[in-house]
């Protein structure tokens, strides 16, 4: 009988908390969105599944060794942990509090005590440390994106860089919105949190994760989920804004064909961009450095094998670990609060403002160039989200004028948006990091 009781007390059903049930439901919902609705499945499948695994009771997959040791709360282990952290209380909550606030040497000592007692880091915790806390996974993804990006349309019409800049207004407007909500006492965000939330408006998953991991790791789960869900919703969020801000005749503007861009130009561009980053904004160097490196591998033509790996095998491997790591941050205590709702809300506002700013900038540029040179629809592609946003521009353009293919013209602002959001990320890290 005693054995049966023991088994029962070690079971998931006995130990599960309401928060874990809710988070498993959230994970299942993400899987549903990914599998049935085809929302960014490459990321939401690993994120959703990671979220479910992180909330399995008693398994402690998303916790560090010390957190696991405290969870199982054997008196002698708690005593040893308290001693290593120089506190007298053996209350689990106080030990955890001391552990999170400890200096590196006592932190290390506590970890060793937990390891000696037979507790180890959860699998997802390890993935998170290696892939995201170190910054490696988002940067490798950026390298792969660089290797997939063709700067031809941008080089043929460099002015589209302005559209990529304008669309970043969404990021900064959202930062203001987030601190405004905190100032009014509705939410509780620091300026670092606000900056990390704003980056959702950059519509760039790896950039958002990179910035969040540096400025607001506790919000990373919500920010990543918001960023990827809204990227999947680009075809629904953008068109109404684009239609509202442009007139029928503006949408009909046909753009003339882009000039031919030579191979030398394409090779020189990532190098020129990297030099500019090095001179002006070293804080954006990790992101844009890897991006330029990936692009150079693509364009130089002598390392096709490396370029192929970066844009296929490697980016797939990294995506798996990135998704599972993000999932590990979907724990009930961090995800189920009002702030997450605020992040989801602010994220969509960021997207909307970015789209509007891009379209308005394109309208302005069109006016300056005589009113018949730039179709304002390509402005919305300034919010990265490559290549979805460019396809949306193309689609709305075709609705107005079936002969007008805007796809290549929209790719210019689209890749400019990637550069723009990476620059914005560098500025954020510099100012509030």
């Amino acid at each position: 009988m005693e054995k049966i009781l023991q088994l029962w007390e070690a079971s998931g059903i006995y130990n599960i908390s309401a928060g874990q049930v809710t988070m498993i439901a959230v994970g299942l919902f993400l899987l549903f969105l990914a599998i049935r609705k085809n929302f960014e499945p490459l990321l939401l499948v690993p994120i959703g599944f990671g979220g479910i695994m992180a909330n399995i009771p008693e398994a402690g997959l998303a916790f560090s060794a010390v957190e696991n040791a405290v969870h199982f709360a054997k008196p002698e282990v708690l005593q040893a942990l308290a001693a290593s952290l120089n506190i007298t209380s053996v209350d689990p909550n106080e030990i955890l509090h001391a552990y999170h606030g400890s200096n590196p040497s006592t932190h290390h000592a506590a970890t060793m005590v937990a390891a000696d007692s037979g507790y180890s880091n959860g699998m997802l915790y390890n993935f998170y440390s290696v892939a995201i806390a170190s910054g490696v996974a988002p940067l490798l993804i950026f390298m792969g994106v660089g290797a997939m990006t063709d700067f031809g349309p941008l080089l043929a019409n460099p002015k589209t860089l302005f559209l990529g800049a304008a669309a970043q207004f969404g990021i900064f407007a959202t930062v203001l919105g987030a601190v405004g909500l905190s100032a009014m006492g509705i939410m509780d965000f620091t300026v670092q949190d606000a900056a990390a939330i704003g980056i959702i408006g950059g519509a760039d998953g790896p950039t958002a994760i990179y910035v969040a991991s540096m400025l607001a790791p506790q919000l990373l789960g919500a920010i990543a989920v918001a960023a990827y869900s809204y990227m999947a919703l680009v075809p629904m969020i953008q068109p109404p804004i684009m239609r509202a801000l442009t007139s029928e005749s503006e949408r009909k503007i046909a753009m003339h064909q882009l000039r031919h861009v030579s191979k030398t130009e394409k090779i020189m561009f990532p190098i020129a961009l990297l030099i500019l980053v090095a001179l002006l904004l070293p804080d954006a160097a990790p992101l844009l450095g890897m991006f330029c490196f990936g692009n150079l591998m693509r364009e130089c033509g002598v390392v096709d094998r490396l370029s192929d790996t970066a844009q296929n095998a490697l980016i797939n491997i990294v995506t798996i670990f990135l998704g599972l790591s993000v999932g590990s941050k979907l724990s009930a205590d961090k995800f189920l609060d009002l702030n997450t709702l605020g992040i989801l809300l602010l994220g969509i506002v960021a997207f909307g403002i970015g789209t509007a700013a891009g379209v308005l900038m394109a309208k302005l540029m069109n006016k300056l160039e005589g009113g018949n040179a730039i179709n304002p629809l390509i402005g919305s592609a300034g919010v990265s989200a490559v290549p979805m946003a460019a396809r949306v521009s193309n689609k709305i353009g075709l609705e107005a004028n079936p002969q007008n293919f805007l796809l290549m013209h929209a790719m210019g602002p689209n890749v400019a948006g990637v550069i723009g959001s990476a620059v914005a990320a560098g500025v954020m890290i510099k100012f509030v990091g």
Binding site: L154, L155, P158, K159, L161, F162, G164, A165, Q168, F169, I171, F172, A173, V175, L176, A178, V179, G180, S182, A183, G185, T190, V191, A194, A195, H260, V261, S262, K263, T264, E265, M268, F269, A272, L273, L276, L280, L281, A416, I419, G420, V423, A424, V427, M428, F431, V432
Partner: protein
């Protein structure tokens, strides 16, 4: 609390300003780079294209059409 808002405002003004300055410089650098490259390292293929006769251009179009159809087809999958 006001300091938080003013921090946010600062971040917006400087951040947006910097993004624009950086990308404006990038426009100049890119334009210059393209001009220099096209002046000193013109692509030999461009000249050949200029000489190409009309039928060849039509053939090119067919090829382009085939490539695009294939690409669209692949994407639709």
């Amino acid at each position: 609390m006001d300091s938080l808002v003013s921090e946010g405002l600062n971040l917006m003004v400087y951040g947006m300003g910097f993004v624009f300055v950086f990308l404006t410089l990038l426009v100049f650098v890119t334009t210059m780079m393209s001009k220099l490259v096209n002046k000193f390292f013109p692509e030999p293929i461009v000249e050949q294209k200029a000489k190409a006769s009309a039928p060849q251009a039509a053939a090119n179009n067919d090829e382009l059409l085939a490539v695009m159809t294939a690409a669209v087809h692949k994407y639709r999958k």
